[in-house]
């Protein structure tokens, strides 16, 4: 059976104020439970696409729906509620460096825990317990009170994954989650994202530049070029030969220098 549509992108274009057209009438449907890899050269619009889904970027045209609710026209409380449904993982981790690991995970709950107390870094006991559980899931429960910037890159990204989990989302938007990590560490981080998809049943949209990672983790792939979807299909279809067809002979998909 075809499941619920988690993310529906219809005819979305984005023109930045400087005139760059980053997305050009992109349409795309992601069913609940899919692990969709977004492939493309640097500047092809991967980040813009993912960031449009939680409205860190405002699309210029078209609509995006999250579980049937329009993100593009939501404002205020409604927008915040929709953002709560989609957790984002960034290439640069984007942790609050001067705060503890535990506090960083707890910020994932800020969508549902409001009020003055949360501004004073005091969270309800059940949320703290849940944050510790999330940290345990990524194997960092012993680092809860370390400062975030004291951790290695791979560990920081795992904290970011715990923060995403803390958010209790239904969709995970991962924008090149392993691009700034040592190749040896990539699988250790990717496996946690895979677990979100497999064990939690979360829908994952993940931009990647490494063909090996794509074939290993994704259930479906879309390829972007210059803001357009140029190919779409199962990972097995994305051979080196096809990629050379799409991106030209110079694109080496196992080097992040080319595809970042």
């Amino acid at each position: 059976m075809t499941g619920t549509i988690a993310v529906r992108v219809s005819n979305v274009s984005k023109v930045y104020p400087n005139g760059v057209k980053a997305l050009d009438r992109v349409s795309l449907e992601v069913a609940e439970g899919e692990f969709l890899a977004v492939l493309g050269l640097s500047g092809s619009g991967k980040s813009t696409l993912l960031r449009s889904i939680n409205r860190l970027v405002d699309p210029s045209e078209g609509t995006i729906e999250l579980f049937g609710r329009d993100v593009t026209r939501a404002e205020g409380k409604a927008l915040r509620a929709l953002r709560g449904e989609a957790a984002m993982i960034f290439q640069q981790f984007n942790l609050v460096k001067r705060h503890s690991v535990l506090t960083n995970v707890l910020t994932g709950a800020l969508g549902r825990v409001g009020g003055l107390r949360s501004l004073l870094m005091s969270f309800p006991d059940d949320e703290v317990a849940y944050a510790r559980a999330c940290l345990k899931r990524v194997g960092l429960d012993d680092r809860a009170s370390s400062r975030a910037d004291a951790l290695s890159g791979g560990q920081q990204q795992r904290v970011a994954i715990a923060r995403a989990l803390m958010q209790k989302p239904r969709v995970v938007l991962a924008d090149e989650p392993v691009a700034s990590l040592d190749p040896a560490l990539r699988h250790s981080v990717m496996r946690h994202i895979e677990a979100l998809n497999r064990d939690e049943g979360l829908t994952v949209l993940c931009s990647l530049h490494d063909l090996d990672l794509v074939t290993r983790y994704a259930t479906r792939v879309v390829a972007l070029r210059e803001g357009k979807v140029v190919h779409e299909g199962p990972p097995s279809a994305f051979t080196k030969a096809l990629l050379h067809d799409i991106y030209g002979q110079d694109a080496h998909f196992d080097h992040e220098e080319v595809l970042a």
């Binding site: 860190l56 915040r80 957790a87 960034f90 640069q92 984007n94 609050v96 800020l110 969508g111 970011a160």
Partner: protein, 363 residues
């Protein structure tokens, strides 16, 4: 072939000749002006420095200006300019040449704009000398008049030491209170004055322009003037000084704070926004942790500046040590002035060292 002949060669030789002559003439004029201004400037300096006017012991700049040999130097300038023309790379030639106004990639002294800049700087200096009534003659001959003051300053009297220490304490507290009042207000306003936070909506952009303008105004008005305003408002005394420094501190801190906010890493802010957090939570977790250390550093620096400023504020009645300094200056009691100046100097120096140390630790 016909067209080529027509454009390149024999048509209107007279016109081409006049064109050439005007170019030469313009070049000569520009060079002559340039050389003349340099020569006049040299003579001006010479007269000011080395040739006092007979009868009047102090030649004013205006006198000197009247004694310049305009005619002779202009003649010399024309001759020199003509010689320069033959050398063919004079600024005048560059000016008169069709595309010579600004030639990118050329050394500055071969372009007209380079020389224009030179003349401009030179004329500014020349004008400045007149406007500020620079008088080196006085400077070098009348030292004895200030000797009394300097001797007094070097022999401080103990008479005002106690009173001075008390008021010094008041000065430090005055500066402290002004800073303390300014911190929360500047903190809140700095978010409204940060460009990166006020781009999205028209309301936010208006807020940015509004806060920035008000702050620029408040900063442009000297604390001394604010002191006069508040002295007539709340009366002579340290509180007027506190208020004056408060206004100025808010304005300066908003500028420094908001520039700091503009330079933050937007990543954490986006991450917190993405969780669906409220605006306050985004500011609290996405921005505040990044700006606390520099804010502390700026704030200590501001206190340091306020201590310095409050001595001046005291001169007009804003409390603190400046308050008792003024009458002693007026009465010429240089020994007591010396004591007070010494107290201020030591405090400012100590605060400088301490604040530098603390700020080093923080950042």
């Amino acid at each position: 072939m016909k067209r080529c002949l027509r454009e390149g060669g024999d048509v209107k030789p007279v016109a081409r000749l006049t064109q050439r002559l005007t170019a030469r003439g313009t070049a000569l004029l520009v060079d002559a002006l340039l050389v003349a201004s340099v020569l006049l400037m040299a003579q001006f300096l010479w007269l000011c420095l080395f040739v006092p006017v007979a009868g009047t012991p102090l030649p004013s700049a205006r006198d000197v200006l009247e004694r310049l040999s305009y005619g002779a130097l202009s003649g010399v300038a024309v001759l020199l300019a003509a010689a320069w023309q033959l050398w063919d790379r004079s600024p005048g030639t560059a000016f008169a040449a069709p595309r010579g106004h600004s030639a990118p990639g050329k050394p500055w002294d071969e372009t007209f704009s380079g020389f224009f800049l030179l003349i401009f700087v030179e004329l500014t200096f020349f004008t400045g000398w007149l406007v500020t009534e620079v008088d080196l003659h006085q400077l070098f001959t009348n030292f004895h008049k200030a000797e009394g003051i300097l001797r007094g300053l070097l022999h401080p009297s103990g008479a005002v030491l106690f009173e001075g220490l008390i008021l010094l304490l008041q000065t430090i507290y005055l500066a402290f209170m002004a800073t303390a009042f300014a911190i929360p207000i500047a903190f809140v306003m700095s978010f409204m004055a940060a460009r990166n936070l006020t781009r999205k909506t028209a309301k936010a952009r208006f807020l940015y322009v509004f806060v920035r303008s008000v702050m620029n105004f408040a900063r442009a008005v000297e604390p001394l003037v604010w002191a006069l305003v508040f002295i007539s408002w709340v009366g002579i005394g340290p509180f007027a000084g506190v208020l004056a420094l408060f206004i100025h501190s808010v304005a300066s801190l908003v500028k420094l704070y908001s520039e700091q906010i503009e330079s933050i890493d937007p990543g954490p802010m986006e991450a917190i926004t993405g969780t669906g957090a409220s605006l306050l939570a985004v500011l609290r977790y996405g921005i505040v942790p990044q700006i606390v250390p520099p804010f502390l550093s700026y704030t200590i620096y501001r206190w340091d500046i306020n201590v310095r400023m409050s001595t001046i504020i005291g001169f007009v009645g804003g409390g603190g040590i400046g308050y008792i300094l003024k009458p002693r200056v007026d009465l010429g009691e240089w020994g007591e002035v010396g004591t007070l100046v010494l107290l201020i100097a030591v405090t400012v120096w100590a605060l400088d060292v301490i604040s530098a140390r603390v700020r080093e630790r923080i950042v």
